[in-house]
């Protein structure tokens, strides 16, 4: 019993230590961070976008990528939806409203630089950082290439260099962070000829967006996408057609995805604290039950042996008594016989005496 008690306390100690170690990780999921004030963002007004794709070319120039094959103004490139690739940090796709007669709508897609980014939350080496200015940066020097970030991003904004066997990286829009640090606007914002991309402080852009909606309620849907979706993004989108037709999921929770995705973390300290003590206790209980049943068995065996011994004793005593009785009988019979013989001998002697 003392062994299992010690083990129980060992288990509790282990559990307490484990709880201390993991409490930090669990605490991170319940804090609520409103975001750095004055952080930057971009407003994409899809009603102004004409699909010229100048932004794609500007982006390729800034990032030293090969220029897109299809020239500016090409319409065939829109026949299939394209996605972000290691050479194409932003793409413009064409979407048609359900009625065939209404004009096509174009939307530029790139990393949304979320307020609470999934990529940063799921990275097991903390390769992503959300800067106070707004952009999310990626550090290829620690990345191990697990691609969980690519898996998790709800906006399909990340791509991976599968062709590179030695130094593959996650490739995505960086919001032209070096340019922003110099006080310039991102390449796409500068290149856009129609003003469909505006760069500035996120809180100002939200006001601008709301103002546009107020001034032209027939042109815009009364919703600034990115303001609250999944905790909010740095890229805000205005549209005249429902957002899900632009491949943007609207009406999702305002809770950030990292908050949802890290809720499991609260279980970890619980398991680490409860399991050792609980399982050691179960082990102790099992051991005690086994010991008791073993003791019972031993007691039963001892009792049986004792009973057998007692029985044997009884039998021996009975046999001895019988033997003594038999002996007595034999002695009595012998005495009787001797007496009879003596009587007979005496009778014969008396007869002989009488004959003379």
């Amino acid at each position: 019993m003392s062994v299992s008690r010690r083990r129980f306390l060992e288990g509790l100690g282990l559990g307490a230590a484990g709880g201390l170690v993991t409490s930090e990780a669990a605490a991170g999921s319940t804090k609520h961070f409103a975001g750095h004030p004055g952080r930057l963002g971009l407003l994409h007004d899809t009603t102004l976008c004409v699909g010229c794709r100048s932004c794609e070319f500007a982006c390729a120039k800034v990032n030293d990528h090969p220029l897109p094959a299809a020239p500016v103004g090409d319409q065939h490139v829109f026949e299939k939806k394209r996605r972000i690739t290691p050479d194409l940090f932003t793409v413009v796709n064409r979407y048609r409203a359900r009625q065939g007669t209404t004009p096509a709508v174009y939307r530029k897609q790139q990393c949304m630089h979320c307020n609470e980014p999934c990529c940063a939350s799921v990275c097991l080496v903390r390769a992503f950082t959300k800067t106070p200015e707004g952009p999310i940066l990626y550090n290829p020097d620690v990345c191990i290439g697990c691609r969980y970030c690519v898996m998790a991003c709800p906006y399909y904004a990340l791509s991976y260099e599968y062709d590179d066997p030695v130094t593959p990286r996650v490739m995505r829009c960086t919001m032209c962070y070096p340019r922003i640090k110099e006080g310039k606007a991102p390449g796409c914002a500068e290149a856009c000829p129609t003003g469909a991309i505006q760069f500035g402080k996120r809180e100002d852009l939200i006001k601008v967006a709301r103002e546009r909606i107020r001034k032209q309620p027939d042109r815009y849907l009364d919703h600034v996408f990115g303001e609250h979706e999944f905790g909010g993004t740095s890229w805000l989108v205005l549209a005249g057609i429902p957002f899900h037709e632009l491949d943007l999921h609207e009406g999702v929770t305002h809770t950030s995805l990292p908050e949802i995705g890290t809720s499991f973390l609260s279980v970890v300290p619980l398991v680490i604290t409860l399991y050792p003590g609980l399982l050691a206790g179960i082990y102790a209980f099992t051991k005690r039950r086994e010991k008791l049943s073993q003791q019972e068995r031993q007691a039963a065996v001892a009792a049986a042996l004792e009973q057998a011994a007692a029985d044997t004793k009884e039998k021996l005593a009975a046999a001895a008594a019988r033997a003594a009785k038999d002996k007595e009988k034999a002695v009595a019979a012998a005495v009787k016989k001797a007496k009879a013989e003596a009587e007979k001998a005496a009778k014969e002697a008396a007869q002989k005496e009488a004959d003379r």
Partner: protein, 388 residues
């Protein structure tokens, strides 16, 4: 015992030849993967960064190797001593299984030489994958230590064997703790993708689903593995067919209860997320195939098999359950994942990915065969009889 048989064993048996071809081909493909990059040997895309190597080698592999902690906990913590003969094979299967998980992960990572980075360079503890990595690494160590008694008996290192034997209870507790954490956090990997994983498979309780189904998978794998081992190693096994049948039926009873619990949780999830209407869709039909054909059906078959003492039925059900858990992991990781993407964007494994996966499983079988044929896994070492 089998010393004469060992020296008579040919190297070029049909099994060895086929296994050799599979392993050689796998090695060649892996060389290509490391020379030309993942694109050369996989069908991974930017939409599907995780494919068969993650879906099977990592996620299914971990679930199928769960027999180790289930049986060892049953025997050492819950006192079910009658299952002692199958503890060592279950632990060995677990160890080889988890080892192959790490190999599979190594092969899939973009920069596998950086695998220790989360522990020694920079940690990201908010990530479910960090918890998976940490717990799998620790649990692999636990399984390794739990596998050493057999090796130490075989080598004759008595003192070391005694030391390790004394650690059994602590290791079993630690192993159950770690298994709970990493089985569930594999499910937690997908809780952050509610827009990408089809709502019938998505639940914020995915960690619980994954853990319970892993227990069922582990039990079923033990049933299947013990059936095969008993036939292949008939000279070494010390328990009779009847004894194994009794143990198999006992496992069926447990499997039936676990699958019943799993089924109940899944039905509750449908209720809580109010997803009944989705069952009437094509995806819903596929979901019902998984839920009814591979969860409810084996639950009933296990129960019937146990009740009627039909061991053959139980063994077949074991195979169905294993397939069902693999199907579930596939659904969650790449079939029902990105469900709204058009058909041309969907992922189908490259034949090279399939070959490497088969090669990894083959290497596990070969290793098991080598170890079980020599070390006291399926039999008791004469010097250590009754002391496990």
């Amino acid at each position: 015992m089998s010393e004469s048989a060992t020296s008579e064993r040919k190297l070029a048996t049909p099994f060895n030849v086929i296994a050799g071809i599979i392993l050689a081909g796998g090695a060649a493909i892996l060389a290509l993967r490391f020379v030309k990059g993942l694109r050369a040997t996989t069908n991974l895309t930017h939409d599907y960064p995780w494919g068969l190597w993650i879906g099977f080698d990592v996620m299914s592999g971990v679930a199928l190797a769960a027999g180790g902690f289930v049986i060892s906990s049953a025997v050492y913590l819950f006192g079910m001593k009658e299952y002692k003969p199958i503890v060592r094979p279950a632990i060995l299967t677990g160890f080889l299984g988890y080892f192959l998980v790490v190999v599979g992960l190594f092969v899939d990572l973009g920069r596998p030489w950086r695998l220790p980075y989360p522990f020694v360079v920079q940690a990201g503890p908010t990530s479910a994958l960090f918890e998976v990595a940490l717990c799998v690494a620790l649990y692999l160590t636990v399984l390794f230590i739990e596998s050493t008694p057999a090796a130490l008996e075989w080598l004759g290192w008595r003192r070391a064997r005694r030391v390790v034997g004394g650690l059994t209870i602590a290791l079993t507790i630690f192993g159950l703790l770690l298994s709970t954490l990493h089985q569930s956090s594999l499910g937690a990997l997908f809780t952050i993708t509610p827009t990408k994983l089809h709502p019938l498979w998505y639940s914020s309780y995915l960690p619980v689903h994954f853990f319970v189904s892993a227990v069922a998978a582990g039990l079923s794998m033990v049933i299947v593995e013990s059936m095969i081992s008993h036939r292949v190693f008939k000279e070494q096994v010390e328990i009779s067919h009847e004894q194994l049948d009794r143990l198999t039926l006992g496992l069926a009873k447990a499997g039936s209860v676990v699958l019943a619990i799993y089924f109940a949780i899944k039905v509750m999830a449908l209720m809580l997320d109010d997803n009944w209407h989705l069952l009437a869709t094509a995806w819903g039909a596929w979901y019902l195939v998984e839920l009814l054909g591979f969860v409810l059906l084996p639950c009933i078959l296990y129960a019937a098999g146990y009740r009627e003492r039909r061991v053959g039925l139980v063994r077949t059900t074991g195979v169905i359950t294993v397939l069902g858990v693999v199907l579930n992991r596939f659904n969650v990781s790449f079939i029902a994942f990105n469900y709204s993407l058009p058909a041309e964007a969907r992922y189908v494994p490259h034949w090279m990915e399939i070959w490497v996966t088969v090669a990894l499983v083959t290497s596990g079988v070969v290793a098991f065969r080598w170890i079980a044929g020599r070390m006291p896994i399926l039999f008791e070492h004469p010097d250590w009889k009754g002391q496990h």
